[in-house]
């Protein structure tokens, strides 16, 4: 059987911002099952690899089960920070939207739509 993929945006939403040269991305699941799933598949290693092109040096992962969210802190992700970065997104505002573009294997709890 062919493996099916979905975008992370089908099971979660996200917001990102800056703290100096670091960025944080909060990924919030829509459901409890979704939270358990993203907590399993979104490891610090996966996030670091996904944003490797930005020069991220380390990723910290924190659980916020109370709002079904995972918080990632991406160290040195912003090319110097808001005051001196040469990037168009100096403050990491779009990284949350970017992570929702991640393709993940379709989890079992998502019902297959009738074709």
């Amino acid at each position: 059987m062919k493996k099916e993929f979905i975008h992370l945006s089908e099971i979660a939403h996200a917001r990102s911002g800056d703290k100096g040269n670091h960025s944080n991305i909060g990924v919030i699941a829509y459901t409890k099952e979704g939270y358990e799933h993203i907590n399993k598949i979104l490891t610090a290693k996966v996030i670091k690899k996904f944003f490797a092109g930005l020069g991220v040096t380390a990723v910290e992962k924190y659980e916020m089960k109370n709002i079904l969210a995972i918080n990632f802190v991406l160290k040195n992700a912003l090319g110097g920070g808001a005051g001196c970065s040469l990037r168009i997104d100096t403050q990491g505002k779009i990284l949350g939207t970017a992570i929702l573009e991640m393709e993940i294997a379709k989890p079992e709890f998502i019902k297959t739509k009738k074709s």
Binding site: R15, N66, A69, G79, G81, G83, L86, I88
Partner: protein, 453 residues
């Protein structure tokens, strides 16, 4: 004793929609309006303005706002707490007082919180090695000669003192954004500063409303069924027991839901169990959210721990200059042509011996701007090539900017968008976040009638 306090926010940063605080004050229906203007970057812009004119260095929009709304302020019985003072809270207070007097409100009391600006003390503090970088072991000596501004983040205590002395308007310099909300809570409910859970509740309410419409539908990335033509700005209805409701202005666009509030709760935080503020260490994992009907989210369960003995200090320094140029590239192989244009710029920079510290291209429209694996280069027929450079000399960046227009006649076909004059180099600012023991700074306050300033 009060049982509830309604605190609205009408600005999330300097440059937020200016009509919003006017609308909020004219409509009324809450007790306190907070206006948050100071990003890290804003402080260094204000520092540059103060250097030119010693009477400047504050957010001018605020006295301008007071001019427009003074009669409604009186009628609606609204108090304002704002960090519009920036690097010159006293000058801001004078300008506000003048506009209050002109509006017939010379009896209005204006409070000022200052003492956060430690630029003058800096040589002594550095000598004694009292400023520790938050992330690294770097010595401040490496940037000492280039420092533009240095401010500690105060907590709520100065604001509380001003309110106790009857201030109708409190103007601060650098305070933690959320303390603008905690201060009025401590004052109204006579909260004990030793009660960390209550301190955390006030700070978390402040954290949720401090970015304006970002909690009420703006920047929401989830599935949405609302419009954003003019989103309502947030109002926190806080109870004396530390629980509160997040809602927004009536009859406005936007939305307040568990989703929008969750996104703002997680915005710009690190370890959620240890969110350090000058007033308390908040535990964001303790916060519970419950939808109570349309545009109403109840927040409860906030926990905190006693604050640390240090204050975050924001130090900005001169980091040279930066400049960005753009070219519009069109055609079937637009991405390849844009890459060719960048290679030409690289070559020309070398040929002309232009002294740059860095040179950085972005191919906007290619889907590759963030260089992440899923964003493979798309076959777009239109690419906006943006090339940025940094240099310690302005003149070198002027030479860099002159390299772009010639590509229209001497580069590949389908290149345009060079008109509109040469972009000017901007100051590049570095930040040096540090920690300083609380005992080396002192919160100062003044409260006077507007007529006495």
């Amino acid at each position: 004793m009060r049982k509830t306090l309604s605190i609205a926010n009408g600005a999330g940063f300097w440059g937020d929609r200016a009509s919003v605080p006017v609308r909020l004050i004219e409509k009324g229906g809450f007790d306190i309006l907070t206006l948050e203007y100071l990003a890290e970057l804003t402080m260094s812009i204000l520092a540059a303005q103060k250097k030119v004119d010693a009477q400047m260095g504050y957010v001018k929009d605020f006295p301008d706002l007071i001019k427009k709304v003074s009669s409604s302020l009186l009628e609606k019985k609204i108090k304002i707490v704002t960090n519009a003072g920036g690097l010159n809270p006293l000058a801001c207070a004078k300008a506000v007082a003048k506009n209050l007097v002109d509006g017939g409100l010379s009896h209005f009391r204006v409070g000022v919180v200052f003492g956060d600006d430690i630029l003058e003390q800096l040589p002594q503090l550095m000598k004694k090695k009292l400023l520790k970088h938050m992330d690294t072991n770097l010595s401040i000596q490496t940037i000492a000669s280039k420092i533009i501004s240095a401010n500690v983040y105060f907590g709520a205590d100065g604001i509380v003192k001003c309110l106790q002395e009857g201030a109708d308007i409190v103007i601060t310099g650098r305070v933690a954004d959320a303390s603008l909300t905690l201060g009025p809570c401590i004052h109204a409910f006579n909260w004990d500063a030793q009660n960390s859970d209550l301190m955390a509740a006030g700070m978390i309410a402040g954290h949720l409303i401090e970015c304006g419409a970002q909690v009420s539908g703006g920047n929401y990335s989830g599935k949405k069924n609302f419009t954003l033509k003019s989103p309502g700005y947030p109002i926190a209805k806080i109870n004396a027991d530390g629980t509160f409701l997040i809602t927004k202005e009536k009859n406005t666009d936007g939305c307040v839901s568990v989703g929008t509030v969750s996104e703002q709760l997680i915005y710009e935080i690190g370890d959620p169990q240890k969110y350090f503020t000058p007033d308390v260490i908040c535990d964001f994992t303790s916060v519970q959210l419950k939808q109570m009907g349309k545009d109403k989210v109840f927040v409860y369960g906030c926990k905190g721990q006693t604050a640390s003995n240090t204050l975050k200090t924001s130090i900005a320094y001169d980091n040279g200059y930066k400049c960005s140029n753009t070219l519009f590239v069109y055609g079937q192989n637009a991405y390849e042509k844009a890459k060719e244009c960048f290679e030409i710029i690289q070559y020309q920079v070398k040929q002309e011996k232009i002294k740059l510290i860095s040179l950085f291209p972005e191919f906007l429209g290619s889907g590759n701007t963030l260089v992440i694996p899923v964003n493979k280069v798309m076959q777009s027929k239109e690419i906006f090539l943006r090339v940025s450079a940094a240099s310690d000399q302005k003149e070198e960046l002027m030479k860099f900017s002159k390299l772009f227009a010639p590509l229209v006649t001497s580069g590949p076909a389908g290149v345009s968008g060079y008109t509109g004059g040469l972009p000017k180099p901007q100051k590049s600012l570095g930040f040096w976040p540090a920690l300083l023991d609380k005992k080396y700074v002192k919160v100062e306050t003044i409260v006077k009638n507007a007529g006495d300033f």
